[in-house]
């Protein structure tokens, strides 16, 4: 994870305003400066309305910034999207009910015009990586929530994008499944060397997974601080009992408390 590998995402002075000029104008992001190195695992954390999902969507070109410069792999976010540089995982697994597990994983390959045999082979390899090789012929509704999310991760990685954008991917899972998925994600990350942008509202998850934690505050969405986490990889369940881990969790929690406290009353309950 050395810095020499180069900058993958460079955001400078990014602002995002929804409905500009109208009564419902919302400054979602204000003066965001962030640079992400290749192979980095970086988390965006903050209370609701801090713009962490918006920032992820800007990087993925699902939204466009109102102003500011954003370069991804040295190109615009749009070019990066058209070059299929992004794999995306959402909070809901968003699998297609009408497709079997393997057909779901093959979906991006179909869109991108891969040959049938290649599609099948790649999907099987990905399913084996997420330890669902035996479930290729099943349908999504036959799987548990955690398994569905693993299929969704396999689908995001199957076309070998350089960046993985994850929007609260384990937010809907129970605590035990979530911790297992965290370990699994770290293993996949170490195996593939992808750059991962991980949006979460779980402090422990952010600290456990990432090398840097971007703490954000709401109204307007801003970066409060970027916390470096030097806990060595590979991390496992023992990491969670490391005093350094607890110190980081406490630090992030303190930063978040300040962030929420500085907002107007009721800010925490906004959508």
């Amino acid at each position: 994870m050395s810095a020499e590998q180069g900058v993958v995402i460079a955001a400078q002075g990014i602002n995002k305003i929804f409905n500009p000029g109208s009564d419902e104008e919302v400054i979602a992001l204000q003066d965001i400066n962030l640079s992400v190195e290749s192979g980095e695992f970086i988390s965006l954390i903050g209370p609701s309305g801090c713009g962490k999902s918006t920032l992820m969507r800007l990087v993925g070109d699902l939204l466009q910034p109102t102003s500011g410069d954003l370069l991804v792999n040295g190109k615009s976010a749009r070019e990066a999207r058209l070059d299929r540089d992004y794999g995306m995982v959402f909070q809901a697994a968003t699998l297609y009910d009408w497709r079997s597990v393997t057909k779901n994983v093959q979906l991006p390959l179909e869109v991108m015009g891969y040959a049938k045999e290649e599609r099948r082979k790649r999907a099987q390899a990905m399913l084996e990586m997420v330890e669902l090789g035996a479930f290729a012929g099943h349908y999504p509704w036959q799987l548990s929530g955690g398994m569905q999310q693993r299929v969704s991760i396999a689908r995001a990685l199957v076309f070998d994008p350089s960046i993985l954008l994850m929007d609260e991917p384990f937010g809907a899972l129970d605590e035990f499944t979530r911790e297992r998925m965290n370990l699994e994600l770290l293993r996949i990350w170490e195996q593939t060397g992808k750059t991962i942008i991980f949006v979460t509202h779980s402090i422990s998850e952010a600290v456990f997974l990432s090398g840097r934690i971007v703490v954000m505050s709401p109204r307007p969405g801003r970066i409060t601080k970027i916390v470096s986490n030097d806990l060595p990889y590979p991390r496992d369940f023992k990491t969670r009992s490391d005093p350094a881990y607890h110190a980081l969790v406490a630090e992030v929690r303190e930063l978040l408390r300040d962030a929420v406290g500085s907002g107007p009353p009721g800010a925490m309950h906004a959508p």
Binding site: R57, W98, S144, L165
Partner: protein
Amino acid sequence: MTLDVEKRPSLARRIQRRLRYYSPTIAVAIGVIVLWEIIVLIFDIQQFLLPKPSAIFSEFMLQVNLWLAPDEGSLLFEASGATFWEALGGFVIGCGSGILMALITSRWTIISEATMPFAIAANSVPIIAFAPIMNNWFGITNPASKMAIVAIIVFFPTMINTVRGLTLVDASQLELMQSYAAKPARIMFSLRIPNALPFIFSALRVASALSLIGAVVAEFFGGPRATLGVYITQEAGAFDFAKAWTAILMASLIGIGFYLAVLVLERRLMPWHVSFREAG
């Protein structure tokens, strides 16, 4: 986490299971018919008010025999066939063009936003009232006049539901497609159309019932002798109520057949749908 796919039970076992599942329904049906027969007998109800089920059944069997006899013919079966083709023709034309229109309009948001209010308004118009006009347009004995009514009746619900299915797509599923830089045609075929299938089929199920109602009621306004609507009005006018009721029975059978055909097609095309999943 064991998810072994259950082995399919034997045919006999499945039939047995089915019978047990449907037995309350069958019992209710038999009960109603028996009760009907008893009430007519006890209260000595005139046959032109309400014929006995047994009378309707024997008339039905008589018609079946006439139909099967080599030199004879059954007007009832001839009428049923004619009405069936009118309903089917109208159903195919109406639903087909409804789905087609939905595909075209939903491709361009502006067109669908401009046309949907009209479609919804048209859907609440009693289209059957146009039957006499269609008779004038196409000729009273021309089956096209009835098909046209049926087609217009089923067109609007099919189109409205299909547009809904094509446009009510989960936002993150669309974002997913965007992240693959998928072209609109690909999004249409891989996401919007499969997403619309449950909507389309719920429209088709309604349309299957509507098409037979539309055909029979349109025939009430006039048509060839050998159609169910005309048959019912004529036999009722001649106080031959067993015959009229037999025609109603035929219309019901065709309607149920239509509905079941749509259901079978639905199961074939979307076996993944939640409504067909075997309960644990």
